[in-house]
């Protein structure tokens, strides 16, 4: 599941907002991550069928398939059952975080995020 040494950690960012994806991409790529992007949950699901990744970062509110739906589908299969998945949330309330955990997320990133904290969170869960 882990990448070979010296291989950059691969991250898939899933957000329907291009600017949010750009922000994530900027922060992660400048810290040495290999970043891929998907427009929404459905696109992410399709991309993940044929591609592999180390960490998934997903927004919750998205058209077609939202973040919780994406996590549910990924956890149901065996290939991504143990994949670290972080959700992007604007809510810092503990019950919202708890909900993310219950939905199967590994962790969360509160928007707006501090790039250093984002990178730390991804490193924290990257197997």
């Amino acid at each position: 599941m882990s990448t070979a040494p010296n291989q950059p950690t691969r991250v898939l960012t899933v957000d329907d907002s291009a600017s949010m994806r750009a922000l994530l991409n900027h922060a992660l790529a400048s810290s040495g991550f290999e970043v891929h992007q998907a427009d929404d949950g459905q696109a992410a699901l399709e991309w993940l069928v044929v591609n592999d990744v180390d960490v998934v970062i997903t927004d919750i509110n998205m058209p077609r398939l939202d973040g919780f739906g994406l996590i549910e589908r990924l956890r149901a299969g065996s290939r991504h059952a143990d994949r670290p998945i972080l959700v992007l949330t604007t809510e810092s309330a503990p019950e919202k975080k708890q909900r993310a955990r219950e939905a199967g997320a590994t962790g969360w990133i509160v928007k707006p995020f501090d790039p250093d904290k984002l990178v730390a969170a991804v490193r924290r869960v990257a197997h």
């Binding site: 329907d16 907002s17 291009a18 600017s19 949010m20 750009a22 922000l23 991409n25 900027h26 509110n61 998205m62 058209p63 956890r75 143990d82 994949r83 670290p84 998945i85 992007l88 604007t90 809510e91 810092s92 309330a93 975080k97 708890q98 955990r101 199967g104 997320a105 590994t106 962790g107 969360w108 509160v110 928007k111 707006p112 995020f113 501090d114 904290k117 969170a121 490193r123 924290r124 869960v125 990257a126 197997h127």
Partner: protein, 694 residues
């Protein structure tokens, strides 16, 4: 990509979002909206809010937050879509558009206070009212229900609370500090990996000082999805608790954390797997025999077990107890009739004893189950005291009654804490005394003449008798000029109210004094004694019965009564020489035991037995040890026997009687009362003092 370029994407996105929201609201106005329409409007506003926060457009973010709160309720169906509401949302969209332009051009944001109030009022009003009410949104609507806490709490701003917490974190502690952590099963699901958190701590300068794997079961009972392991880490002084908490934030309460050296280890949350061994399985199926070079003789599967309800077992033990009594009665009858069937009788006696032992063995469990908890207790103690202690355990296979085993944990734990805390000296003092720096704690169990001896022995400094004596005087337990032997001084630590714990540390002082330890042991029908040698160490010796159902007792005669004194209380028995007993007042007498005076309790008078001997010189004195009043001498006419007896509760057959602990049936079929020595002596001493005062 620069920040400006990303912002440009954001503003382009805002145009798209505004257009999407406009289209959605148009559908609302036309009455053709559905769930997807509302969701799209919500998402559009939500998206603008997210970007506004990321790029620091505070006014835009605040406005979208209030707007989003209303839309969220519309989406949930708690606020109904009405023409006035659609009107309000359209006006809000116009203001939102102005906000976006202002943010893009860096001009002052539009005035939005009145509109914000309207949005909040609409949300609040509808949240409580029936959906169909068509109140004009512009009408002054007093807000009957308060704004939901979530909206009020973070009015507009998504603050990075974690960053704030970090900034506000308490000043760093002065030295390296200790963290104990124990990930539970929940920390290992959904992509969670506690190892990464450990690594993060290590890369921040922490080091693992110990791994607690005492809970790891045998391989066949191991469930890889359970959290058996715990770690103790030394963290650098500049690492704050908040920083640690952040590392474990995702694990939430699925990873137990204990900050500081004094904090106990977070308890494990191991879910026991369905016990497979309890089902009587086909031999060899559940427990495959170990591979042997020669297959043939199918060895009996080790550890095969069957689960029995405890009450069923107790009935069996009870019946066996009756059998023991019946056998004794028969032996007595036949013995007095001339021993015509001596051979057969001996056989029955042997068989009875075998049955009794087998029945007791069913309830028996190896003491190892209690001992196995000790290493962990010791590790925690060494961690918190900084003392190094080596553990030596022997006799783990010694078996005791299940009830005794269950109730032994607490006193034993306390004795071990006591030994490490008070007994074993710090390394420097040990070296100065010519000992090895590492202390030794010996824990042993053995069966000896129908009783179990458990020793908790340390090689520490021994009991500081001068200090114990001074402390007892200070506590008013003894007179300053009391003449006590060394052993008697040692025993003072068991006196209620005596505790040296708070002087030394907070480890032993957990609300349990040594008096409670002694009481626990006595409740089990046992005794605890101390062997202490200054400079060499201290040993606490627990003498416990094999079972609680059968006990050892001294059969005594008082007048026309036969009674049983539990052997656990008896220290010695003696015939007093003339002059050993001194009168004290009109009715009280004291016995001189090697220079020390203890009260004489005339059993016959206390219990109202007829025809008993009044004067100690005519009878026998049994020196007993009691819980609250130290030693006393029971005056009885004679001692007739010392033997095992089956305890029968008086409460269930009659009622509770003061001074009587229960009853038993003697070999000759008579019922004898078992004395409650503690209660009797307490009552007698109190009555004597009253008489004296009168």
């Amino acid at each position: 990509m620069t920040s400006e370029e990303i912002q440009a994407i954001f503003f382009a996105e805002c145009e798209e979002s505004l257009a999407a929201a406009e289209a959605g609201l148009a559908a609302c106005k036309a009455g053709t909206e559905d769930a997807d329409t509302i969701n799209a409007i919500f998402r559009a506003v939500h998206s603008i809010k997210g970007g506004a926060g990321a790029f620091g457009h505070v006014a835009l973010q605040a406005f979208t937050h209030t707007y989003e709160t209303l839309l969220s309720d519309v989406r949930e169906g708690t606020v109904a879509i009405t023409p006035p509401l659609t009107e309000l949302m359209l006006r809000a969209l116009d203001t939102l558009s102005d906000h976006v332009s202002a943010a893009q051009e860096g001009t002052a944001p539009p005035a939005d206070a009145a509109l914000l109030a309207e949005l909040t009022a609409a949300q609040a009003a509808h949240a409580g009212a029936a959906p169909a009410l068509e109140t004009p949104a512009s009408a002054p609507v007093p807000a009957p229900t308060p704004v939901p806490a979530s909206a009020a709490a973070d009015q507009g701003f998504d603050l990075d609370l974690d960053a704030l917490l970090d900034d506000l974190a308490a000043p760093a502690p002065a030295a390296e500090w200790t963290l104990r952590l124990r990930p539970h099963a929940g920390a290992m699901v959904n992509g969670g990996e506690p190892l990464l958190m450990l690594r993060e701590l290590v890369s921040a300068g922490g080091r693992v000082s110990e791994c607690d794997w005492s809970l790891v079961p045998e391989l066949d009972a191991l469930d890889p999805f359970q959290g058996y392991l715990g770690w103790t880490l030394c963290l650098p002084a500049d690492m704050t608790e908040a920083a640690v908490a952040e590392i474990f934030e995702f694990a939430g309460d699925d990873c137990g954390l204990a900050f500081g050296g004094d904090a106990p280890f977070p308890p494990a949350r191991i879910v026991a797997p369905p016990a497979p061994a309890a089902v009587p399985a086909a031999p060899g199926a559940a427990n495959p025999a170990p591979c042997a070079a020669t297959q043939p003789p199918p060895a009996p599967p080790a550890g095969q077990s069957i689960r029995i309800d405890l009450p069923k077992l107790d009935r069996l033990i009870d019946a066996v107890g009756e059998l023991v009594i019946a056998q004794a009665m028969l032996a007595q009858r036949l013995g007095s009739d001339g021993a015509s069937a001596a051979e057969e009788l001996a056989l029955i006696e042997t068989l009875t004893r075998d049955i009794q032992e087998s029945a007791m063995a069913i309830r028996a469990q190896p003491i190892g189950s209690v001992f196995s908890r000790v290493p962990r207790i010791l590790r925690e103690l060494t961690q918190s005291t900084g003392k190094h202690v080596r553990l030596e355990v022997s006799g783990e296979a010694t078996e005791l009654d299940k009830t005794v085993i269950e109730r032994l944990g607490e006193p034993l734990t306390h004795l071990i804490r006591n030994a490490v805390d008070h007994g074993i000296e710090p390394a420097d003092r040990r070296l100065a005394a010519g000992k090895s720096a590492e202390g030794t704690l010996r824990l042993s169990a053995e069966q000896r003449s129908g009783r179990i001896l458990i020793r908790v022995e340390d090689d520490g400094a021994g009991i500081d008798r001068a200090r114990v004596f001074a402390k007892a005087v200070e506590k008013g337990l003894i007179a300053p000029d009391a003449q006590l032997s060394g052993e008697e001084i040692d025993l003072l630590i068991f006196a209620p109210g005596f505790s040296t714990a708070q002087q030394v540390s907070n480890i032993s002082g957990r609300g349990v004094g040594m008096d409670v330890v002694r009481q626990n042991v006595k409740d089990l029908g046992g005794r605890i004694t101390i062997e202490s040698v200054a400079g060499k160490g201290t040993a606490f010796v627990l003498t416990l019965p094999l079972t609680l159902a059968i006990s050892d007792g001294m059969i005594v005669n008082v007048g026309d009564q036969t009674m049983v004194v539990p052997l656990a209380h008896v220290i010695e028995s003696l015939r007093p020489a003339p002059g050993d007993v001194k009168g004290l007042g009109a009715r009280r007498q004291m016995l001189n035991v090697r220079g020390r005076f203890i009260p004489v309790v005339p059993l016959g008078r206390e219990l109202g037995a007829a025809g008993c001997r009044e004067y100690p010189e005519q009878g026998v004195l049994i020196v007993v040890d009691t819980e609250a009043h130290g030693q006393a001498a029971l005056l009885v006419d004679s001692i007739s026997d010392q033997r095992q007896f089956v305890i029968k509760s008086l409460d269930t057959h009659y009622r509770q009687v003061e001074g009587v602990a229960g009853a038993t049936i003697l070999g000759d079929g008579r019922v004898a009362l078992i004395l409650d020595v503690d209660g009797l002596v307490a009552r007698s001493v109190a009555a004597g003092q009253l008489r004296e005062a009168a």
